[in-house]
């Protein structure tokens, strides 16, 4: 998906679709594929099901929990469509949880990261920010927890979230102080700049890369509708 192919107006919805998929990756295993989004000219489609929403219907789905999918597309594969709807319900419950345990927080955090990465890839300002060749990868982690993600720049210059492994090298690292801080951060309940000063968020490595990541994270946090599903 090229940056120029996503209209600025559609970017928040695309980021929301990516964030729902991200949450599913952390909580639904292989079934996450049913929420893997695709952007079509008039629709946002979810996964293999072919469940397709107009932009306004998708905005309703994210914002209120109900959006009417395109009937024709739904009827072409109703079982898969229902599976997608079931998964959406599951994701919805996660966002409503307030537990500070990794199984509750990882999907929410991943959702926030996916939205940010969507902005890093497709925001009109993005391209000029990523010219620096040393900007390759960011590790996001929670102190004293195994939860870690790598945001990597791929050979096509697109950023993507990849599983962390011990060999992963990060140009920069952002660490949340604890699970609760991570949850608040993911839900937009932290002032990220203040949180760096208080120690709730620790930064290391290529600070200019984290500055730019932070800019898109804040932008996404302001613009992307938080899933209520």
């Amino acid at each position: 998906m090229n940056a120029e192919k996503i209209h600025r107006r559609r970017l928040p919805l695309w980021a929301a679709a990516r964030s729902v998929f991200g949450a599913a990756c952390e909580s639904a295993g292989k079934d996450a594929r049913f929420l893997d989004p695709k952007l079509e000219e008039n629709f946002i489609c979810l996964g293999e099901s072919g469940l397709a929403f107009s932009d306004s219907a998708f905005a309703k789905l994210i914002g209120t929990g109900f959006g009417k999918p395109n009937l024709h597309r739904f009827l072409s594969a109703p079982a898969k469509g229902l599976k997608t709807i079931f998964l959406l319900r599951r994701i919805s419950k996660i966002f409503k949880q307030s537990d500070s345990i990794p199984s509750a927080i990882n999907p929410i955090l991943r959702a926030g990261l996916e939205a940010t990465v969507a902005y890093m890839n497709h925001h009109p300002c993005a391209q000029k920010f990523w010219r620096e060749k040393s900007f390759r990868s960011i590790r996001i982690e929670i102190r004293n927890h195994e939860s870690k993600w790598m945001i990597m720049k791929e050979s096509n210059e697109h950023w993507s979230i990849q599983p962390f492994n011990e060999k992963s090298y990060a140009s920069a690292c952002l660490q949340f102080f604890d699970l609760q801080t991570a949850r608040k951060g993911a839900l937009g309940l932290l002032d990220p700049l203040v949180s760096v000063g208080t120690g709730e968020i620790a930064l290391s490595g290529q600070i200019p890369l984290l500055d730019k990541f932070g800019y898109f994270a804040r932008l996404a946090n302001l613009e992307v509708p938080r899933p209520r599903l």
């Binding site: 300002c125 920010f129 040393s134 140009s171 920069a172 002032d191 700049l193 203040v194 760096v196 000063g197 208080t198 120690g199 620790a202 930064l203 290391s204 490595g205 290529q206 600070i207 200019p208 984290l210 500055d211 730019k212 932070g214 800019y215």
Partner: protein, 406 residues
């Protein structure tokens, strides 16, 4: 190290000031949990934070202080003027004295104007160049900092596409790239704005290569481009009469600030005669820009610089300190190189492109009471004594050992 007061004030700040502290002093721009958030007082080359921790300082208020905090000669001049007042309906006559000093001190200067910050006058100087040449484009070095205005700020927010439509960049020291930019935009380049050497943040400083400044001057002459020297950061630290003397070239306009008032906010732009009439046409004012306290501080500061050959002094102190610091690092197995001029050195560790090593090193230094900035060039204060440098080196050695053992 205590930081409860710092944290207390920062928590309050977070509620009423966006980000708590912004700009180059924002926590994220330094070492958020090692550097204090707030200072209490300072003397010479030391400061005390709000928790009472004492620091040996290597940043000098990010360059705003050259002779040392609260230098008695400067403070006495300010105190004298304070008894008369600071801002009036008309400027104090001291503004004339300051302009005369600069014109007499800076070889190519025929006039001077004043403002408060470097940005006020880097932007104004670009406009003067545009007024003179009737051209649009300005060329700068990639990664160079020239202020907070939309055409040059390093931030990301609040920009519109036209902000930088007439700004072009080249790699520092690359005369071929510069020449190519000029040729591509022949007869439409108004100004080339450069710092005396390349002091970008998050990267080692780069001195001009042999022939760079001569090439730049010659290119500007050939194509009628105004050469603007942004001497805001370096002014007074490389040469008492401006950094162009240190590197041996003549600009058309130069901007000074930071050290000019030794901690009192003032900036100056000086220019050659050929630019005087055009300077008249570009509006310049600010209600407090004629602040006579800052002007009296600048007069005293320039007097001190001349009297005590301060640029030479801080250079010698920097040479001693940097050389010893590198030796100590080497002994601890750290490939530390203090880049740039010795009076304003930038710490760079070989192969540490992602800055993890220098961050760790500066954190350990901070825990030993040394304000070593990991991403910004340091500033050697002229108040730094031999004893203080020895003490700092002892502390640095301890920090290096701790870093090596980690």
């Amino acid at each position: 190290m205590k930081r409860s007061e710092s944290d207390h004030w920062f928590e309050r700040a977070g509620k009423v000031i966006p980000g708590g502290i912004y700009g180059h002093m924002a926590p994220g721009a330094g070492l958020p949990r090692e550097f204090p958030h707030y200072c209490s007082h300072a003397t010479g080359c030391e400061f005390t934070d709000v928790d009472g921790n004492e620091w040996i300082d290597f940043m000098c208020g990010f360059g705003a202080v050259l002779h040392g905090y609260r230098h008695p000669f400067v403070e006495a001049a300010v105190d004298r003027q304070r008894s008369y007042g600071s801002v009036f309906n008309q400027p104090s006559h001291l503004i004339v004295e300051l302009a005369e000093r600069l014109v007499s001190n800076v070889s190519f200067a025929d006039w001077a104007v004043f403002a408060k910050n470097g940005s006020d006058l880097t932007t104004w100087a670009v406009r003067v160049a545009r007024e003179k040449t009737g051209r649009e484009f300005v060329i700068k070095a990639r990664g160079a900092y020239h202020g907070v205005d939309a055409w040059c700020d390093p931030g990301m927010g609040g920009r519109i596409s036209s902000d930088r439509m007439h700004v072009m960049e080249f790699s520092w020291n690359d005369l071929d790239e510069l020449e190519s930019l000029v040729r591509t935009n022949l007869d439409n380049v108004a100004a080339l704005i450069l710092t005396p050497y390349h002091h970008a943040s998050y990267a080692p400083s780069e001195l001009p290569v042999e022939g760079f400044w001569q090439g730049v001057r010659s290119l500007c002459d050939k194509h009628g481009i105004a050469l603007i020297l942004d001497d805001v950061r370096c002014g007074g630290r490389l040469h008492d009469s401006g950094s162009h003397e240190y590197f041996g070239f003549i600009p058309d306009l130069a901007i000074y600030s930071k050290a000019l008032g030794n901690g009192y906010a003032i900036s100056a732009c000086v220019g050659a005669e050929a630019f005087r009439n055009f300077a008249n046409e570009v509006f310049l004012t600010g209600s407090c820009w004629n602040d006579s306290l800052a002007i009296s501080a600048a007069i005293a500061s320039l007097e001190l610089s001349r009297r005590d050959a301060v640029a030479q002094s801080v250079t010698e102190k920097g040479m001693f300190f940097c050389s010893r610091l590198e030796d100590l690092a080497r002994k601890a197995g750290i490939a530390l190189k203090m880049t740039g001029p010795p009076s304003m050195p930038y710490p760079w560790i070989e192969e540490d492109h992602d800055l993890y090593q220098v961050q760790s090193l500066c954190k350990r230094a901070a825990r030993n009471g040394l304000y070593f900035h990991p991403y910004h060039n340091w500033f050697i204060s002229n108040a730094m004594t031999q004893d203080m440098m020895e003490l700092a080196l002892t502390k640095a050695s301890k920090a290096f050992d701790e870093h090596g053992n980690a």
